[in-house]
């Protein structure tokens, strides 16, 4: 059976992903490129007797890479030398897309153009002479409408005919005019000095890059920019032209793109007031732009949390309720020792549960982000917010991950992928933990209830503001220190608005989720089990003497200047590393001594049999479904704050009032807001950035900041007499 390696390349926004999804369908494999966190999509498809190995390259405007994504695309094309390149071209933006095509032709690899978004071009009144385009460039051209799967079969047939040698594709060597002379000089020099290089790289491409003084190529080849033969080759030029070589060659390429476009494209001349134009007139309007944007962001936020919350709650209740109960029943029936039952339910099941409750929110958030990107609105968000974000060293697009952080920091870290540059991604990820997430609310709720019931909204609001202010300060600080140096500039296409395919959104969301459950799931599970051991070894001792209690006791002096140097508070903070809401449940376990009644009340439920429980699970799922849709329509407000007053919570509150003063309580809240980003965030950072380094830095910076702020609050407040 014959095999062929095909690379798919094209400009961003050319509909490349949709085309890949249409070709590969369920065969699509999503992973990362080695060593970096850029998505790699591959697929192996059988077409008649042919095996096609497809590799989707990141969208790129040029083969002189600017972003990490573009670097990957360039490296693959130059070094892996695929048998065939499918170049996806946006028919509605022919000239700029052909600029990349012309660079691809320099590689001397056969090219097939997928003339995509052909329907939109026709609607605009464009006529493209595909035969002429084939003649001019010596390649195959297939009109496609990836969203409707049109032209996909033709494309596959062309690949097949090529692989079987029925159809030869010989890319034209385009004439670069005056530069050809210089190319020859360099070629002769290379043949004499270093003939190996001409085999290692596509020769014409290499020579052009050397003439352009392309930094990357010079570094890779070990040649110098002022090599004698290079100087000789360009000296003629620089005399007669008033530009550097790089500009001259870019100009020639665009000149060819322009010439080809003029020959093959007939436009019925209309003023370009299309739909995109109309939408942008409102959405980017000087006065309406920001209000519309804020409303849009509110909906994004509301949608992602209100829609997912009932499902998370449902999963949580099913795990705490029936799953735990029936596991206990089964294990007891099997006469398992008590500690094992505890490990299985409080350690393992709770650990699995901790992974599962993230699924709804990650799914919904990823769906929304893909929707924002695919529709073209993400670029507008960047356009509107760049001024503000740029002032703290960020990119306009950083706004989205940051705002989503108020719901949950974990998907926020994943969302940093919308940013092109690694620097922006890391810097944004460093600031995300300062966005006060939903898991911190239960801690605020219980303390505010105990100490600041009268000023609840003000105190709560002050914590959110504190986080935002510190994010600004930290942004400014990091910009000058850890992230000093080259800050990528903002040169970004505002693509036309398009309705993304539901299929594409689903595929993308599904791959993200799968990735999270497999990769992050294992870690979270392990950490939960470790935490169980911390709390329960040696088994059966008082909490104070458990491993956790002892750790708490050891570190408690650190918190003494902050007003909460007790082993109870310290232990709760340690337990809270796994997720900040755990601070409350640990405190409840420690402060409210078990009087055995908790266990008994559950006993009444046990009269229900397995089927009844199953029925309850189904009913509660249905309720969650109804809730999530109701939430979308219902009033705006933070629901989670309305904590039900359970007996245990009341008991905890009165206990807290004995131990904390309002001042130390507030210092504690500020500390909880700011300290050590939770382990799940760390796992997400590891996944996104490939190492634990960023998480390590975040732990250090955030913990130090938390300590300092809590110190200032407590000591300052004490001085002022609070």
């Amino acid at each position: 059976m014959k095999e062929i390696k095909v690379a798919v390349t094209g400009n961003p926004n050319s509909g490349k992903s949709t085309l890949i999804n249409a070709i590969a369908g369920t065969n699509l494999q999503v992973g990362n490129w080695p060593g970096v966190t850029v998505e790699k999509k591959t697929a192996t498809i059988k077409f008649d007797d042919l095996t096609i190995n497809l590799v989707d390259l990141p969208g790129t405007y040029s083969l002189s890479p600017y972003t990490q994504e573009e670097r990957i695309a360039r490296d693959f094309l130059v070094k892996e030398k695929p048998d065939l390149i499918i170049n996806v071209v946006d028919s509605t933006n022919l000239e700029r897309n052909l600029y990349l095509t012309i660079q691809i032709l320099e590689l001397d690899i056969p090219v097939v153009i997928a003339l995509n978004i052909y329907d939109e071009a026709k609607k605009k009144g464009y006529e493209i002479d595909t035969e002429k385009l084939e003649q001019l460039l010596g390649i195959k051209v297939i009109p496609t409408v990836a969203t409707k799967k049109e032209g996909i079969n033709e494309l596959l047939n062309v690949i097949k005919d090529f692989a079987l040698g029925i159809n030869r594709i010989v890319s034209k060597k385009l004439n670069y005019g005056d530069v050809e002379e210089s190319l020859k000089i360099v070629e002769t020099a290379l043949k004499m000095n270093d003939p190996g290089l001409l085999n290692k790289y596509p020769s014409r491409w290499l020579i052009l890059k050397l003439l352009e003084n392309d930094e990357l190529v010079l570094k890779e080849t070990g040649l110098k920019g002022d090599e004698k033969f290079l100087k000789q080759a360009v000296s003629q030029f620089l005399k007669s032209h008033n530009e550097d070589m790089e500009s001259i060659i870019a100009d020639i390429r665009y000149g060819i793109a322009y010439g080809v476009t003029r020959e093959v494209l007939k436009k019925r001349d209309r003023k370009h007031t299309d739909l995109t134009e109309k939408i942008d007139r409102i959405v980017l309007n000087r006065y309406l732009g920001i209000p519309i944007f804020l409303i849009a962001m509110w909906f994004v936020f509301k949608l992602s949390f209100d829609f997912s919350a009932p499902f998370s709650d449902w999963l949580d209740s099913v795990i705490i309720g029936p799953v735990t109960k029936w596991t206990t029943v089964l294990l007891n029936a099997a006469k398992s020792p008590e500690w094992f039952v505890s490990l299985a339910t409080e350690g393992i099941i709770a650990g699995v549960g901790a992974v599962l409750v993230f699924i709804p929110i990650i799914a919904v958030m990823m769906f929304i982000i893909t929707l924002l990107e695919g529709s073209g609105y993400m670029a507008r968000v960047a356009f509107i917010m760049d001024r503000l974000m740029h002032s703290i060293g960020l990119h306009g697009k950083s706004f989205i991950p940051l705002i989503l952080g108020f719901g949950c920091n974990v998907p926020s870290i994943y969302a940093t992928r919308v940013l092109e540059s690694e620097r922006d991604r890391k810097l944004t990820a460093m600031l995300v933990p300062l966005m006060s997430c939903g898991a911190r609310l239960p801690v605020y709720a219980i303390f505010i209830g105990a100490f600041f019931a009268k000023n609840a909204p003000t105190v709560l609001w002050s914590l959110y503001v504190l986080g935002i202010l510190l994010a600004i300060l930290l942004g400014l600080f990091l910009k000058k220190t850890l992230f000093k140096g080259f800050a990528p500039v903002f040169i970004m296409e505002l693509p036309p608005y398009r309705v993304p395919l539901l299929r594409d959104l689903m595929i993308h969301t599904w791959h993200k989720l799968k990735h999270f459950v497999i990769k992050a799931g294992t870690y979270i599970f392990a950490v939960s089990v470790i935490m169980w051991f911390m709390l329960n070894t040696p088994y059966g001792v008082e909490k104070e003497n458990s491993a956790l209690g002892r750790v708490g006791k050891t570190i408690s002096p650190v918190f003494a200047p902050l007003g909460f140097g007790t082993w109870e508070a310290s232990s709760s903070l340690v337990a809270g590393l796994i997720a900040k809401e755990v601070v409350v449940s640990t405190m409840a376990q420690i402060y409210v001594t078990d009087n055995g009644q908790e266990e008994k009340t559950e006993g009444t439920e046990e009269t229900k049999n397995f089927l009844e429980d199953l029925k309850d699970v189904a009913i509660s799922f249905f309720n969650a479904l109804v809730d999530s849709f109701q939430n979308l329509l219902a009033g705006f407000g933070i629901k989670s704050l309305q904590v039900e007053e359970e007996e245990k919570k009341t008991a905890l509150k009165s206990k807290l009032q004995e131990i904390f003063t309002p001042l130390s309580a507030y210092a504690f809240l500020a500390f909880v807001l700011l300290y050590w980003p939770c382990v799940v965030v760390g796992i997400a950072m590891k996944q996104e950035f490939g190492s634990w380094k960023i998480y390590g830095q975040a732990i250090l910076i955030h913990s130090m900041m938390a300590w300092l702020v809590a110190f200032l609050i407590y000591q300052g407040g004490s001085l002022l007499g609070f």
Partner: protein
Amino acid sequence: MNLSELKKGQKAKITSINSKGLIKRRLMDMGVLPGETVEVEKIAPLGDPIDIFVKGYHLSLRKSEAEQINVEVIE
């Protein structure tokens, strides 16, 4: 005159680009070349960045980069 000084709706021809290195390269790859006609389509609500129409598509860039692009007003 440079690109950042153009008013909304003004058309101009690029005469030269002062940017250096990667930024210049990027601008050229995006079709911002001497001789090209550009039109300032929009200015972000907060005054920066700007949206220009070049080579048949919309490109946004900050004023600090636009300042490095010299232009000549056409109409």
